[in-house]
């Protein structure tokens, strides 16, 4: 019996000792001792086919920017932006004895500008002759609402989008008094009744302007039509204001920018339809991007499946596309944005989805390290896209497009070097890991 007790004791002792104390420590000393079983190779020889495509139309409604101006671009020709906006009061009540003093349009700069602001520009304010409404519920860069050809106000100015806060365009008292009295005399009590006399305005650049395109904020606090009126009191008149502001609605937008270009370089005239792709070797080895007017770079990797010719089993560990804008195509007046948005498109160049990187949209960003000699190179991480292309079994002629982030409310342009450029070829750098060399 005693022995059995001893035996159990010994057993318990052994079990107690047999817990796993061996979290294996790290072997820093083995660094050179063994080779990795994985081969990692870097490949930059796959063809990057860069072309230019143009959207038939770009949605510009719902913008938080009033974009107005005109300039002559060396690639896109005459680029013109004008704004269409419906402004209305938040309430329709005025004291019956109120008297209108003056009325004016206030436009608050949002610091956006493109091209040379030192040149004089003109803002023409036209009255719309039709409602700012359509059946689609969206407006495009090509949309237009009829307006009175004679402007209600013309405002020559030198834009100071960064230094100044806002500008004030005096509107004729005749224009103001009919609206003011209509509201005061309870003839205009809601937006429907307002539209019978006032459908909104269009702000157009001067016909012959060749200066800049300026952005103003469309927020009710920054841009509005202001009525200055007084209410007679016993001793002194009380001065008051009534504002007409943008009251935007996602389902029924009340603002859009018309952005058009004409007389571009001849090769861009071939882009008559959204499905047409202009290969960069046919356009001076360059690809052309312009926000607002709908030009975008379209990129494909026609030879990417040759990756499977590498023996062994492997997988993509990273894919970086390098694109370079020729330094001669940007300057302080024609600035280049430090990022580009990436979207997937189908064979008809319809956008199917935005590309993501770790849950965030993919942006091509300027690589600071390569920013030598003031030359910028965009680096676009497209590993997920390339991985998917490789695993796609059927051959779909899809692609991805590269465009500036504010595509619907700016005229930012980017010119990119194509795949056969002498200066810098558009390059795809793949990092490929082979984990099994036998198969």
């Amino acid at each position: 019996m005693r022995k059995i007790i001893i035996a159990f004791g010994v057993f318990a002792l052994i079990l107690a000792c047999s817990f796993d104390t061996s979290e294996i420590p790290t072997l820093e000393v083995g660094q050179d001792f063994a080779d990795s079983n994985v081969r990692v190779i870097s490949i930059d020889t796959f063809t990057v086919a860069v072309s230019t495509m143009r959207f038939d139309s770009v949605i510009t409604s719902g913008a938080n920017r009033i974009l107005v101006g005109q300039y002559a671009d060396s690639f896109f020709g005459k680029v013109k932006a004008s704004n269409f906006i419906e402004l209305s009061p938040l309430f329709y009540e005025l004291p019956s004895d109120a008297e209108l003093d003056s009325v004016g349009l206030v436009l608050g700069y949002d610091e956006y500008f493109y091209n040379d602001t030192i040149r004089p520009s003109i803002l023409n304010v036209h009255l719309l002759t039709d409602d700012l409404r359509n059946s689609d519920g969206v407006f495009y860069n090509t949309s237009e609402i009829p307006f009175d050809s004679i402007p209600v106000a013309t405002y020559p100015y030198l834009p100071e989008p960064v230094d100044e806060d806002s500008l004030f365009i005096k509107l004729p008292i005749d224009f103001g008094s009919s609206l003011f009295e209509g509201i005061r005399d309870d003839e205009i009590n809601n937006v429907e009744e307002l539209r019978e006399t006032f459908q909104g305005i269009s702000i157009q650049p001067g016909t012959d302007d060749n200066s800049s395109i300026i952005g103003f904020s469309s927020s009710p606090e920054r841009s509005y039509i202001r009525f200055f009126y007084r209410v007679p009191e016993e001793f002194d008149d009380e001065e008051e204001t009534l504002d007409f502001v943008l009251q935007d609605d996602i389902a029924e937008p009340k603002i859009f920018n018309q952005i058009l270009n004409e007389n571009s370089i001849p090769v861009l005239d071939t882009l008559t339809d959204q499905e047409v792709n202009l290969l960069s070797p046919l356009s001076d080895n360059r690809s052309f991007i312009q926000a607002g007017t709908g030009y975008a770079s379209r990129i494909q990797f026609p030879t990417i499946k040759q990756l499977f010719d590498i023996p062994g089993e492997g997988t993509i560990l990273s894919a970086t596309l390098q694109l370079k804008p020729p330094p001669s195509t940007y300057n302080d007046n024609l600035p280049i944005r430090d990022s580009l948005a990436i979207f997937l498109v189908d064979q008809n160049n319809r956008i199917t989805e935005q590309l993501f990187f770790g849950g965030q949209p993919v942006f091509g960003v300027v690589n600071e390290e390569q920013e030598e000699f003031d030359e910028l190179i965009y680096q676009i991480p497209i590993g997920v896209y390339v991985d998917r292309e490789l695993n796609e079994t059927n051959l779909v002629d899809d692609a991805f497009i590269v465009l500036p982030p504010e595509f619907g409310q700016s005229v930012d342009r980017v010119i990119l070097e194509g795949e056969e450029s002498d200066d810098f070829r558009a390059t795809l750098i793949l990092i490929y890991g082979i984990y099994d060399e036998d198969e």
Binding site: F11, I14, C17, P25, E313, G433
Partner: protein, 416 residues
């Protein structure tokens, strides 16, 4: 009837032992376990570890000697021996510049032997055959086609176990013959984590090996003070399959790459093994053993990542002294042991053999006078590898504790 009980207990406990192996299996921290199927185990049954690891000619009624199946034929009556081992290993690993310590410890072996009749015994032993346990951090490799490098960490763990059935018989006085069949099985898990920039690749491979090896043994008592023992293990091949799971982090998004099971692996050849040993008992209770093992690895024509397999020779010797086994004083019954071995190693890395040598000391504590049960403790100090070139030198302190219980549960019944 009693014999049946022996057999039954053996089988039941044997399987219990197998079960526990699959869970706790890390008995080494040697970076050399990266190669082949790992490093040869330091696990021990009985007292061989304290005698330099050999002992092919040793034969005793109270201790299991799994080195030679013929030793199971040692004449005794109604004997049942149960041996349970624990291994703790503290190693210091160094190269030219760095030094590191690591500890591995575990429950390491189970063995039983039971008489069938007075002249023959069979035994079952479960113990590791080879151990794997390494982690190599910060391996820098070149990204081919660029000047950049990538970083990888490699972790390995696992073991091959051997379940061996031994049978030994005394054919006539002074000649014992034995045979054994070993089932080798186990899995080795290797994980490599590759880091390149913000991307990562994670390759987890679990390789399962199994195979059967046969062995024959002989022991002969040439004189009362001189015995010879030898064994021959047949070459065999382990077949393997691999389960592989590959995943990656691409553009900060984790995604699976591949999950394959039962991929075919190349067979792993185990070489023929010829072992010879002698036991000398010059006087009293002083016993010497001298042994030599030869493993014909080169015939297997195998290669590893950066090493070749070369023929392996192990030379070892040991001595045991007891003042008086039947002494009434505990100190008189203590068994003092010492041993030494030199192993040329089976792996040659860049022309240099990974040899090892070790000295061992041990004590045997009998439970009581005439009980036959004992606790064997051995300490081994092993040096392996060298710090030349890229190699790593290990200094390993290993302690084996084996509990050897004789006729334990059956003693009661015998009194009945």
């Amino acid at each position: 009837m009693m014999k049946m009980n022996n057999v039954l207990a053996l089988v039941v406990i044997g399987f219990t032992g197998l079960g526990s192996y699959s869970q706790t299996n890390r008995l080494t921290g040697s970076p050399y376990s990266l190669f082949g199927l790992g490093v040869e185990t330091s696990s021990n049954v009985g007292k061989n570890a304290s005698l330099g690891g050999g002992g092919f000619a040793l034969h005793e009624p109270n201790v299991i000697n799994i080195r030679n199946p013929a030793s199971f034929g040692t004449e005794s009556t109604n004997s049942f021996i149960f041996d349970m081992g624990f291994l703790g290993e503290l190693s210091t690993i160094q190269n030219n510049t760095t030094e590191e310590n690591r500890l591995a410890s575990n429950f390491s072996s189970l063995a039983f032997s039971a008489n069938i009749d007075e002249k023959s015994t069979f035994g079952l032993a479960v113990l590791p055959y080879s151990d794997v346990g390494y982690s190599l951090l910060g391996i820098q490799s070149n990204i081919e086609g660029s000047f950049a490098q990538f970083n990888s960490n490699i972790f390995g763990s696992g073991a091959l176990n051997s379940l061996s059935l031994n049978y030994g018989r005394t054919f006539f006085k002074g000649l014992r013959l034995g045979a054994k069949i070993s089932y080798l099985f186990g899995s080795i898990e290797e994980t490599e984590i590759v880091q390149t920039g913000i991307s990562g690749l994670n390759v987890e491979e679990v390789s399962n090996y199994s195979g059967v090896q046969f062995g024959l043994g002989i022991q002969t008592d040439i004189a009362k003070w001189f015995s010879y023992g030898g064994t021959f293990l047949f070459p065999t091949q382990l077949s393997g399959t691999q389960d592989r799971v590959v995943g990656k982090v691409l553009d900060l998004t984790e995604s699976p790459v591949e999950s394959e099971t039962d991929l075919a692996l190349d067979r792993f050849g185990l070489p023929a093994e010829i072992n010879n040993g002698i036991r000398i008992n010059p006087w009293g209770h002083f016993v010497l053993n001298l042994d030599h093992s030869f493993k014909a690895w080169s015939i297997t024509e195998q290669q590893d990542n950066i090493g070749d397999f070369v023929d392996q020779n192990v030379f070892s010797g040991g001595a045991e002294y007891i003042i008086n086994p039947s002494s009434f004083k505990f100190i008189g019954r203590l068994q003092f042991r010492a041993g030494y071995y030199y192993d040329t190693g089976y792996l040659s890395i860049r022309g240099e053999n990974i040899s090892s040598e070790g000295i061992s000391f041990g004590l045997g504590f009998p439970f009581a006078r005439n009980s036959g049960s004992q606790i064997n403790i051995s300490y081994t100090n092993t040096d392996r590898g060298s710090t030349n070139t890229i190699l790593v030198q290990e200094n390993i302190h290993s302690v084996n504790i084996n509990i050897s219980l004789k006729d334990f549960w059956f003693l009661q019944r015998k009194i009945n």
